[in-house]
Symmetry: C2
Subunit: 276 residues, 2 copies
């Protein structure tokens, strides 16, 4: 059975297009590679009401995992923990464990850089103020701890928005959870690049190959124009090693290539990404 | 009053992280520049059930505009028009106007490139098969027409996922609608880059300035590390020219800079993007 996940990114900067959402694509790629299916990505503003609504909607769909990014820092617009508290209808309070993590960071900073301010100001305590019954997760490269909540149907993880921190925490503390849930299921992909054949002419060929290979998903990505065609055909499948997903992929790719060549198209390149 | 918009992007390639969602950030930036507030971005798979659910949820929030991208092409996985039909509970049928657009494109291709296949294959007719009571929109650079549906509370626009086509149709046919709805409201932004002051130390300074300038939104983007701080403070506001939004922004920026310098931080750069 497929293990599914949703991604929710909090941040006005994503909505106004100031920042391109590379966190979502990074998480999508990593989760997919670990055998987990990402079903939805949602981006909302730094507004408690809007994020808590989005959290509740995602929870109601009962994915196995929800990964939230952004809004864990010390400034007023970092409201994600308040949004989680509201969505889960839980109180916020200072977590001793999280506070120790934050305190240790500022202790380190003071030691290594001779910065005088190591006191726990309200902005710093805020990063350790968590919704009830959530667990802080160590941030190996930054200050704000991430958090984890084990709910009935879903494991909810909240990561910082700074990519370097988000990625480090994901690799250290989230990837193992996904890997364990997905078992030895892997994701495999392969791309065929075709020229001299229009997307509208390839369309029925894809239908034929997908019909004969129901576990392989084929998506066409036009890179040129319809009348100067250069098309990437992306084939993907997932499964356990015992199911030979790679063979399945190779068979579909060979069939599709042969059909393209027979229809006067030209296969100019085949790229196997293997397992991401 | 603010005119609001949601963006919905359809495509497995976005969920598996194969493609970074630059369509969403491009649309977010353009809508914001036109004075429209983007409230939510949703990414869903090429699955009719999942996209129609996302369309219905967005419609129920009654934004003035919903812009959908992706899934208008000729292949089997281009299912967005079916998703729209299901969400609106309308039938699909071939639109003569859309079919003429598609036919004309293939006519052109045949003439200019000596391509024999100008017949209307099922894959091509599919691009002209629209939900009832929707209008095709001219695609100046590609084949598949975009579509528009004028609903009770919302104007729903569906654009192709190919960025070049999406952008051209937006500029030609969607931007004028947004501009008209937003009136002469504009969006203004300015960034202050500070060093030698930690984000947790800046946090209360931002609070002070935002409290005194309630129409200016300030967001901090840490670019360095908490103990080697390099922080972008992004100030933004929107309004009609008669409200002098630019002055409002300049005043807040001056206050914030002064507070940073007073707290031993260093303002290393001020960048005014003006109106995007």
């Amino acid at each position: 059975m497929t293990v599914d996940m949703e991604i929710i990114c909090v941040g006005n900067e994503l909505l106004i297009g100031k920042v391109v959402n590379t966190n979502a694509s990074w998480l999508g790629k990593r989760a997919t590679a670990l055998g987990v299916a990402v079903k939805r990505i949602t981006v909302v503003a730094d507004v408690i009401e809007e994020m808590s609504t989005a959290f509740q909607e995602a929870l109601s769909r009962k994915p196995k995992f929800i990964v939230v990014t952004g809004g864990l820092g010390p400034t007023f617009d970092d409201k994600t923990l308040e949004g989680i508290a509201k969505a889960l209808n839980r109180n916020l309070s200072v977590s001793k464990e999280a506070l120790d993590m934050v305190k240790a960071k500022y202790g380190e900073y003071t030691k290594t850089r001779n910065i005088p301010e190591d006191e726990l100001t309200p902005a710093r305590v805020k990063m350790a103020t968590l919704p009830a019954d959530t667990t802080p997760i160590r941030n190996p490269v930054g200050t704000a701890p991430a958090i984890r909540a084990d709910l009935n149907d879903t494991v909810l993880v909240v990561l910082p928005g700074v990519p370097r921190e988000m990625e480090a925490i994901f690799e250290e503390s989230v990837a193992p959870l996904l890997r364990q849930a997905a078992g030895d299921r892997g994701f495999f992909e392969l791309s065929i690049y075709a020229e001299k054949i229009m997307e509208s002419v390839i369309a029925p060929l894809i239908d034929t190959v997908m019909h004969e290979n129901p576990l392989v998903y084929i998506k066409s990505h036009p890179k040129g124009r319809e009348n100067q065609p250069h098309i990437e055909l992306h084939l993907s499948t997932s499964g356990k090693p015992s199911d030979n997903p790679q063979n399945r992929l190779a068979k579909a790719a060979l069939q599709l290539s042969a059909l393209i060549e027979k229809t006067d198209g030209e296969v100019v390149k085949v790229e196997s990404q293997g397992q991401v």
